[in-house]
Amino acid sequence: MSAEKKPAAKPAATAKKGAPKVSKATRFGWMSLFVGVALASAFFASTSVLLFVGMLPTLVAFITDRSPGKMAALSISVLNLAGVMPFVINLWRSGQGLAATFQLLAQPYTWLVMYGAAGIGWSIYHYLPKFVATYVAYRAQSQLSDLQGLQKKLLEKWGPNVAVLAMRNAEAKKQS
């Protein structure tokens, strides 16, 4: 009976093992950010409101971007910040009141600059990879014909055995 029960315990163990681990450093980072944001919100409320509203595209991008490395969020966030930065400076120059914040937010120009910068970031993220992929494909095509030329030369010099034995060796290597 006990012998039958034992294997059942294993999947549980593997499931525990398979669960994503959150490292202590990451946990500490998030905690620090939360504390920092909370403190900043408490001491710089007007700036925080502006940043929160202005950086909403970044927040949305971080939440929706599931890609490894969060490249879309990264592309949007820096330019989004660049779009928000002139208004933060203006706010600080005018004394950091909530009224000044709302005054800034009441102007369409503010929204256009903050979200436009984020849009530029998104555009770069959206269009540039396609251009890069086209370039990579073009370059690969050229490399491909170079490599095929090299193969042809090897076959001419060494005969078909060079291919047969190379593939056999590679296969053997893979199996071993």
Binding site: A72, L74, S75, I76, M85, A133, A140
Partner: protein
């Protein structure tokens, strides 16, 4: 002399258009011949039967004999013989000075006077045998059909004894019982005792003036000799003069220990009486032994019967009937003991398909040690095994019994039982032991073929490829291969016979080459092995220039060329070989193809090329994947680049905003 003569090495001219039938041997035809430069034909050439091994190794010794009682051996060799359209082995001899004695005895003659017989026949023959003995030779073919009447000297002259196997043509009347029991081709080298027996029997016929036993068959003659003894059985009621009786009794004694030797004959010829030889008397059974309805009244006769009917023979041995007869009727516990010793272990062992034959063969050896080795219908003397093997192989006969005899312990048993005075058997045993070792090795260069060439030093190569050329030396083989090279390039220039022949005739050839030659046909190793063997043979004995054979080797070496991986190198080596092929030197060919440094370099470069090829295959796969799956490239390459560029642009913009604000410029 009419017709175009055939030339033998520039020394002798032979005339195919001038046959000399009266000088024919049963296995060799005679033709007129003359020495180069002589105007008169005083010689004759015997064209040896292609189907029989000859006793060529003894020729040189015979040629050195200057005895007047022997025809002069003048020359030997191989010539192209137009009548058979192939090469033939020939023996050239001086023409005898008179007719054959059997021609004279065709009609009964007056009995020869004692003195005349001695002067005309016994003394010249004794002198001849003594002369031959000094040269380590025996004749082996003494009988009236091979003796000539030398009219000039009024004495006999013995004919040749080398154009076939030893004693092959000797009629059974003139052979001892044991040699008469042999298959003619397996009689082996005669001993002086055998020659003395033949001398005695021939003398007896001459003394009588005719052959009274001409009407008896060989089996009848053998039976008389065995049952009643050669002298008493054959002479019987015939009248002989007293002075000769002693001579014939001494020479025709069937017991080799009692038979006169050359000293005894010499003593008798000098008018003295030879010392009596003491030996165990032949046992006489009180009653015969009946085997399959035939009565045998002597032990030797019974053994002969057992070997003729091995099934019945084995049955009486197994049942103990033979043992009881030996003890009770022959009164010989010694023979019964020998039989038991020879067969008991064998009887207790595993029974194979040849059990009966082996059992009878063992019994025959101990009960009739003087007799030949008798096994599965073949009877031979151990020294005749090589001739029997070669003869059977040439004619496509069943060689298995002879192979079995050589491979089995029968020969050693036989030698152990021989009369200790016969030292030649020890030499035979050594030869058989060596042959057994060769037989056990199955690789090319050994086996039955090797045994033939080891046992028969003058045997031409029996390879079907070059058999018609009658090659007797390594150089002959290479020359013969050179001749057939043009038509045979698609097959190999060797077979088991050629390899065995070359290894036997040239000891310096690496004997371990057999394993290399054992590689599969068409492989590089085998091709290299063949060329190595042939080049070794050429450098040691062969002709210097063999363009045909070298070109043949070039064709065969294609698999060896392909050991080089680089095609350019292959073409280079191929071109080099073709160039060297015209030079006719096999060693040069070998040097060009068997270059270990070049091979190692080529292998090293090939391995690098293989790695490169494998890498290109992997790279091409990757590139094709990039081309086909652009979305992945976008994600893997494009997005990080885009993120990087966006980040750089963003940070520059932030920097610029900060800088402008510091400068007092606000957006």
């Amino acid at each position: 002399m009419a017709g175009v003569p055939v030339d033998l090495a520039g020394r002798i001219e032979i005339f195919p258009s001038a046959p000399l039938p009266w000088l024919n041997e049963p296995h060799a035809k005679a033709y007129a011949a003359r020495a180069k430069g002589e105007s008169r034909s005083t010689l004759y050439a015997l064209i040896c039967d292609e189907g029989l091994p000859v006793r060529g190794e003894a020729f040189a010794n015979f040629m050195n004999s200057d005895s007047a009682a022997l025809v002069r051996f003048r020359d030997q060799g191989v010539v192209y013989w137009p009548l058979t359209d192939q090469a033939e082995q020939i023996v050239v001899l001086s023409r005898p000075a008179g007719p054959r004695l059997d021609q004279l005895l065709a009609e009964p003659q007056q009995p020869m006077e004692d003195q005349l017989l001695v002067q005309f026949f016994v003394r010249p023959m004794a002198d001849l045998l003594i002369d031959l003995a000094k040269r380590g030779l025996t004749h082996g073919n003494i009988h009236p059909g091979n003796l000539f009447y030398n009219t000039r000297l009024n004495e006999v002259q013995a004919g040749e004894a080398v154009s076939g196997p030893p004693s092959y043509a000797q009629p059974l009347l003139y052979t001892t019982i044991e040699r008469g029991q042999c298959t003619p081709i397996g009689r082996g080298a005669a001993t002086a005792a055998d020659d003395l027996y033949a001398l005695g029997m021939t003398g007896l016929v001459l003394a009588l003036g005719y052959n009274p036993w001409a009407n008896l068959t060989d089996e009848e003659l053998l039976r008389v000799k065995i049952d009643r003894g050669s002298f008493f059985g054959l002479v019987g009621e015939l009248r002989l003069k007293g002075s000769l009786i002693e001579l014939f009794r001494g020479l025709l004694d069937d017991n080799v220990r009692r038979r006169w030797d050359l000293n005894d004959l010499d003593t008798w010829l000098s008018g003295r009486r030879p010392q009596a030889r003491v030996s165990e008397n032949d046992l006489k059974p009180s009653r015969g032994f009946t085997l399959n309805g035939t009565d045998y009244n002597s032990l030797r006769g019974l053994v002969h019967g057992l070997t003729k009917e091995p099934m019945a023979g084995a049955a009486v041995i197994e049942s103990g009937e033979l043992d009881r007869w030996l003890v009770r009727t022959l009164s010989s516990d010694r023979h019964a003991g020998l039989l038991k010793k020879a067969t008991s272990v064998f009887l207790d062992g595993n029974r194979t398909a040849t059990f009966q034959d082996q059992l009878v063969a063992r019994a025959a050896i101990v009960l009739d040690p003087q007799g030949p080795l008798r096994y599965r219908g073949t009877a031979l003397m151990p020294s005749g095994a090589g001739y029997a093997l070669a003869g059977l192989m040439i004619k496509g006969g069943n060689i298995q019994p002879v192979v079995d005899i050589i491979s089995s312990p029968l020969t050693s048993m036989w030698v152990d039982e021989q009369y200790e005075g016969r030292g030649d058997h020890l030499q035979t045993q050594q030869q058989i032991e060596q042959s057994r070792a060769y037989m056990e090795k199955r690789t090319i260069g050994f086996g039955v073929e090797r045994v033939i060439y080891e046992m028969l030093p003058a045997q031409p190569c029996l390879s079907p490829l070059i058999r018609k050329s009658q090659c007797r030396t390594v150089a002959d083989v290479l020359t013969a291969l050179e001749k057939i090279a043009g038509d045979n390039v698609k097959r190999e220039p060797i077979d088991r016979h050629i390899v065995a022949f070359l290894m036997a005739r040239e000891r310096r050839i690496n004997q371990a080459m057999g394993s290399m030659l054992g590689a599969p046909e068409g492989s590089a190793d085998r091709a290299l092995g063949i060329v190595r063997l042939l080049s070794d043979a050429q450098s040691r004995q062969g002709p210097e220039n063999l363009p045909g054979l070298t070109n043949w080797a070039v064709h065969m070496l294609e698999p060896a060329i392909k050991r080089f991986h680089q095609k350019e190198l292959q073409d280079k080596v191929r071109g080099e070989l073709q160039r060297l092929g015209k030079g006719g030197n096999l060693s040069a060919l070998l040097e060009a193809i068997d270059n270990p440094i070049l091979l190692a370099e080529d292998q090293q470069e090939f391995e690098i090329a293989m790695q490169m090829y494998a890498q290109t295959v992997k790279d091409i796969e990757d590139l094709q994947a990039d081309i086909q799956n652009r979305a992945a490239v976008e994600g893997r390459v494009g997005q990080p680049i885009a993120a990087g560029i966006a980040a750089v642009v963003g940070f520059l913009a932030i920097g610029m905003v900060v800088l402008l604000s510091v400068m007092g410029i606000y957006l």
